[in-house]
Amino acid sequence: MDNAFEKGFPDMAEWNTPEDLRYTENDEWIRVTGDTARIGLTDYAQDHLSDLVFVELPDVGDALTKGEAFAAVESVKAASDVYAPASGQIVAVNTKLDDAPETINSDPFGEGWIVEIKLSNPSEVNSLLDAAAYARHCASRE
């Protein structure tokens, strides 16, 4: 997800941005627990993509490099890559999304998680946006 235009269009909706997560400008979130982390797409992303119809998932064991695409989501509007907020190795994949991609729409920060990774460089997460900064980033694109 990327939107280059900053316009003075008034807020049309509010997006959920949980405090305990870190975010990327490309609308991914990451929740760190010890040396593992879950990754998914934000509420803003799912709202702008609209109804998701397909998620292309990576495999357990795949290596993720921060900033590189590791999955793809497709909605009735568009297909979009999902970029890694941090580097690591995939330890779990949410295969529920194969049959129910709409879970990302209904529960982006919970049941709609995409992968769980073992972080190879946990300090990478420090450079990501916090909830307040990400909320401002969302608002600036409307």
Binding site: D2, N3, A4, F5, E6, K7, F9, P10, M12, H48, D51, V53, F54, E74, V76, K77, A78, A79, P101, E102, E142
Partner: protein, 509 residues
């Protein structure tokens, strides 16, 4: 081969709850033994087909000529087409296809020509192709063209393979990156990936132009080139096109122009003059050959001198110059370092005839008028809709423009609802949700063939819909109301792919 008894009654895949089709499948028409043709008595001995090719279980329609004609005419009447109504599908240039194109393509000398005919017996067809190559080169300012590619995306693929081949020939295999703006057609990154190269995406700035600072940052000796559409897919001419070209050339890369929007350049600007090295045309957009389901497409690729040896082939060449009395002798040849063939035989030849007819009919000044009128129509509609629909860029557009299909005071209304409602006014929806970088995008392209009255009718419908969005949004949510098929469930359609109307009888291959 499996037994066939249990397969003579094919089952359909339609869900029990699905409504009956508006028109039966042709398989469900007719009756056993009915036929639409009478074959003449054979004057050669009959030879049986090999047993292993005979299939008793094939379920073929048995219909009369009249059954068939009525079936397909009814189907065509369920459809919207450029021959029946306004079709402002941005980036697709759905212009009227003059009927003279069809007349010319049906001339027996063209229609009945066989691709394996000896070149000595195909000189007319080859002369047409040679002339079209020259015209496409002249319109682009390039040195030559190949008519091989079967469609725009294949033209892109050819162009990027040519750029790659050029760098390899110059001993620069490290040039593996193709820069693509974020407003690009999806085919651009797809082409890059198909060619085995890496996409580097560049954002657009607040005016809809390429972000020059970011462009500078990514330029280096690993850049093979850049793909860009002119005017870009936001409908605007890149303000800094010369700087963009200079930056890419400065780092040793080549410039590829996606010719999807040539309708805004014909006879006014030549891509080669802007500094482009290679480009493709869409004959089915710019030069009025059939488009969409009616295709096939045709995506010739044109190139400057240094890329000519890499053109896909074969191309038509002059084998012997003509003189006053005798025409030249034409033949087919592979360019010396050609990336190879992309298509069986000589491209989609029928489309080449139609494009040739179109260019001949208009002539040079006529083509310039095409662009002038296309740009005028788009700007007229843009100006009339300004203030009615949000517009991300307040500037003169090319042959199309983008507006946004949403308002603060009409919560829950999306571009899709506006498009569906337009169908109730007898108008085909504009392109939705593209370019991706504009929220709720509606990309509108009237084309030059529409009259002022037709443009006005469209504007009035759009203004009416903008009012309805605020006063009676349910009209939009439930639209279309007047078409043979109402609102389709596109989420369900995308998730449950049913691509056949009925299951084919199962058989071992």
């Amino acid at each position: 081969m499996m037994g066939t008894a249990e397969m003579t009654q094919p089952t359909t895949t339609q869900a029990e709850s699905a409504p009956p089709p508006l028109e039966p499948l042709i398989y469900d028409l007719g009756a056993p033994g009915r036929t639409g043709v009478s074959l003449p008595k054979t004057d050669v001995p009959e030879a049986p087909l090999p047993d292993d090719l005979l299939r008793a279980e094939l379920d073929l329609p048995e219909v009369s000529e009249l059954d068939t004609v009525r079936h397909f005419v009814r189907l065509s009447q369920l459809n919207h087409s450029i021959d029946t109504g306004f079709y402002p599908l941005g980036s697709c240039t759905m212009k009227y296809n003059p009927k003279i194109n069809e007349d010319m393509a049906r001339l027996p000398g063209f229609a009945l020509a066989h691709p394996l005919q000896d070149p000595s017996a195909s000189q007319g067809a080859l002369a047409l192709m040679y002339t079209l190559q020259q015209w496409l080169a002249e319109i682009s300012g390039m040195a030559g063209a190949s008519l091989q590619p079967a469609a725009g995306a294949q033209g892109e693929f050819a162009g990027i393979l040519m750029i790659r081949a050029y760098h390899l020939a110059n001993g620069e295999p490290q040039r593996t990156k193709i820069i693509v703006p974020d407003s690009a057609h999806g085919t651009n990154p797809a082409t890059t990936a198909m060619a085995g190269l890496q996409v580097v995406e560049i954002p657009s700035d607040a005016n809809g132009d390429v972000d020059l600072d970011r462009l500078h940052e990514v330029c280096g000796d690993d850049v093979a080139g850049m793909m860009i559409t002119v005017p870009n897919t936001l409908g605007v001419y890149e303000t800094n096109i010369k700087q963009i070209v200079d930056v890419i050339h400065g780092c040793g890369g080549l410039m590829y122009m996606d010719g999807a929007n040539m309708n805004a350049m014909l006879g006014v600007a030549k891509p080669a003059d802007l500094g482009f090295d290679v480009m493709h045309y869409n004959l089915h957009k710019t030069f009025s050959t059939p488009h969409g389901g009616g295709g096939p497409g045709s995506g010739p690729v044109a190139a400057t001198e240094k890329l000519l040896p890499f053109l896909p082939g074969p191309i038509v060449v002059v084998l012997e110059e003509g003189d006053g009395d005798a025409p030249p002798l034409y033949g087919l040849a592979m360019p010396e370092q050609s990336i190879g063939r992309l298509k069986a035989f000589w491209g989609n030849f029928g489309m080449l005839v139609r494009a040739f007819a179109y260019i001949s009919t208009y002539g040079a000044q006529g083509l310039r008028d095409v662009t002038n009128h296309a740009v005028l129509n788009a700007n007229y509609i843009r100006a009339r809709l300004k203030g009615v629909y949000p517009m991300p860029f307040d500037r003169i557009c090319g042959h199309e423009f983008v507006c946004e299909g949403h308002w603060k005071e009409a919560e829950g209304i999306h571009a899709l609802d506006i498009s569906k409602r337009l169908m109730d006014y007898g108008i085909h929806p504009p392109t939705n949700y593209f370019p991706l970088i504009v929220p709720e995008a509606l990309l509108i392209e009237p084309t030059e063939t529409e009259s002022k009255e037709a443009c006005d009718q469209f504007v009035e419908a759009m203004i009416k819909i903008a009012e309805e969005a605020k006063t009676s949004p349910e009209l939009l949510h439930d639209a279309p109301h007047t078409t043979p098929v109402g609102r389709v469930d596109d989420v369900l359609a995308a998730k449950q792919l049913v691509l056949c109307c009925r299951v084919l009888p199962d058989y071992e291959t």
